[in-house]
């Protein structure tokens, strides 16, 4: 088993116990654990030939750590560290604090396990692991009825999806007799098509494919600020990674699956945009924006699968990384703004942000950069990745594709309609003064993320070390 996964799983109970014995010790322990994980990750990376795969076997179950695993692991570790820092003031003193941090580490380990899995059934277990560790995290503010309801919705839909995935796996297993992701190449047949449908729908719930996205706005807005950032940055994406790994088995229908992904992606883009317009709560706007951006990633990957060219994969993976950064920044900034005003961030409305630019210029700047980047305004990072996606689509050519690209680009511009009111509100006259100072622990992640976004926007090639291996891995999976 990849050492990163083992270490994170083993350290999680340690964090829990530390938290029980030492008040507020859990967070420090988590940071220490994450430090160890970075170290382990770095050491493991020295062995990784970035164009290839680290293969690991435990019994009959294989683990393949390839470029896609590398990218997502990096995102997971980065975001987890920032969220742990951020959560300090937010969670301190609450009942269950030590559970929060322990589950956070379990969630991270679960996602890393998922993207390193080489066995179809093992993949599912890590998928369950991710889901189960996220349930308490989403429902952390469990004294609120709305939060519990959101978690219930999340649980019901995710659990149903996961059972559908099981049926898909069982069918593949029945047909091919093996679960190893490298060896299972199922010949196309109606049975495999049905299995694929089960997998797409089942994983699709986690990815918030239309029409099974309804859990997302509630879960994202009711979860604590740091968890919203993690959910959008890594949990939803882990569903996508799982789907891609599973679909890669059903080779021979590559072109068709590409079209399916493109179709779903486009629908997501549109629905996310339209529904975001109706929202007044800031976190819900960002949640629907995530639905839309997942659509962009799906569109890009779909183009890659369809055409068999790397351009779609590269742009998709870049957007995945950048969106994780942008959305995390957005959620953390909103959470910090709520914290200073001593409000719960779930119900923070756009109007409540009035005057933030005057009082907390750092948060205002962060929100402005996040929103503009999400809308795809040049020269920010979001524009860069979206541009590459459109470029990939145009390279494929064909009237339908060009029309789709234009449509997606229009949607991207359209999203300004709901980002702009947020930016606008920041400069209006102040409605309520802050009640608490902004803690350094919250400032630091915001600063880091803002800086990262600005740098990446100017010099996206910095991410090449992660994006290119991931794209290459996807190409290997889907190219025939």
């Amino acid at each position: 088993m990849p050492p990163v996964v083992v270490v994170s799983l083993v350290l999680s109970p340690a964090i829990y116990l530390t938290g029980r014995w030492l008040a507020a010790g859990a967070r420090a322990a988590t940071l220490a654990a994450l430090g160890i994980l970075w170290l382990v990750f770095g050491l493991a990376m020295r062995d990784l030939d970035l164009a290839g795969t680290l293969v690991d076997r435990l019994g009959g179950v294989a683990f393949y750590f390839d470029g896609l695993s590398l990218l997502i692991t990096a995102v997971v570790l980065f975001l987890s560290t920032l969220v742990t820092l951020y959560s300090g003031p937010d969670i301190r003193g609450k009942t269950g604090e030590e559970k929060y941090y322990a589950m956070l580490l379990l969630l991270s380990g679960g996602v890393i396990g998922l993207v390193s899995a080489g066995d179809l059934f093992n993949l599912w277990i890590w998928f369950e692991m991710t889901a189960i560790s996220s349930y308490l995290l989403v429902a952390f503010h469990r004294e609120r009825g709305d939060t519990l309801a959101a978690c219930a919705k999340y649980l019901i839909q995710t659990a149903s999806g996961s059972i559908l995935v099981l049926f898909g796996i069982a069918l593949v297993f029945a047909q091919t007799g093996t679960l190893d992701l490298a060896h299972t190449q199922a010949a196309p047949s109606p049975l495999i098509a049905v299995a694929g449908a089960f997998l797409v729908i089942g994983f699709g719930v986690k990815i918030a494919l239309a029409p099974t996205y309804t859990w997302l706005p509630d879960a994202y807005s009711q979860a604590p600020g740091g968890i919203s950032a993690l959910l959008s940055g890594i949990v939803t994406i882990s569903g996508l990674a799982a789907l891609l790994r599973a679909l890669a088995l059903l080779d021979g229908l590559a072109v068709e699956w590409g079209a399916v992904l493109i179709g779903f992606g486009t629908v997501n883009i549109v629905i996310g945009n339209l529904l975001a317009l109706r929202q007044d709560s800031v976190k819900r706007i960002f949640a629907y924006s995530s639905v839309s951006h997942i659509g962009f990633v799906l569109l890009a990957v779909g183009i890659g699968v369809y055409a068999g060219q790397p351009a779609g994969f590269i742009s998709g993976m870049l957007h995945l990384f950048i969106h994780a950064l942008m959305k995390a920044l957005a959620f953390l900034a909103v959470g910090a703004a709520s914290y200073t005003r001593h409000r719960t961030d779930s119900t923070l409305r756009v109007g409540d942000l009035a005057g933030l630019a005057g009082r907390e210029p750092l948060l205002a700047a962060a929100l402005i950069i996040a929103c503009l980047s999400l809308a795809g305004v040049p020269p920010l990072a979001g524009f860069m990745s979206k541009w590459l996606i459109f470029d990939a689509g145009l390279r494929v050519g064909g009237a339908t594709m060009v029309l789709l690209v234009i449509f997606a680009a229009l949607n991207s511009v359209f999203s300004l309609a709901y980002y702009f009111p947020i930016v606008n509100a920041l400069f209006r006259t102040e409605l309520e003064p802050p009640q608490r100072a902004l803690p350094t622990a919250m400032q630091l992640p915001v600063v880091i993320l803002t800086g990262a976004l600005l740098v990446v926007g100017i010099y996206p090639a910095l991410l090449d070390a992660f994006v290119n291996p991931a794209a290459q891995a996807l190409l290997n999976l889907f190219g025939s």
């Binding site: 059934f121 349930y135 309801a149 019901i156 069982a170 069918l171 297993f173 029945a174």
Partner: protein, 101 residues
């Protein structure tokens, strides 16, 4: 048509019954029950899949893991239901569906 085919068809039927339940059920605890019905279908599917490939023990191992994982999900679901009953006074899922639009 071997017994295995019958059981696999039955597994799908259980899935269908569970899904139908999710459509019409309004009480959170009954939804957990419906999910459990679906899980039994999945478990049967794995045992059948294993048996078809003469790897019955592998199928059983997978089924065991499925039971474990989904039992945990059911327990969390029940805990959530109890909590919701305390906080909102109702377990009616239709009240959750439209939280804010």
């Amino acid at each position: 048509m071997t017994p295995l085919h019958i059981v696999l068809a039955g597994a799908f039927i259980l899935l269908g019954i569970g899904l139908y339940g999710l459509l019409i059920i309004r009480n959170m605890i009954k939804i957990v029950i419906a999910l459990q019905i679906m899980v039994k279908g999945a478990m049967l599917a794995f045992v059948v899949a294993g048996s078809l490939n003469d790897q019955l023990n592998l199928g059983q191992s997978l089924a065991l893991t499925v039971i474990t994982a989904d039992t945990i999900v059911a327990i969390i679901g029940l805990a959530l239901a109890i909590r919701i009953q305390q906080r909102r006074g109702t377990l009616d899922v239709d009240e959750f569906i439209n939280l804010e639009g």
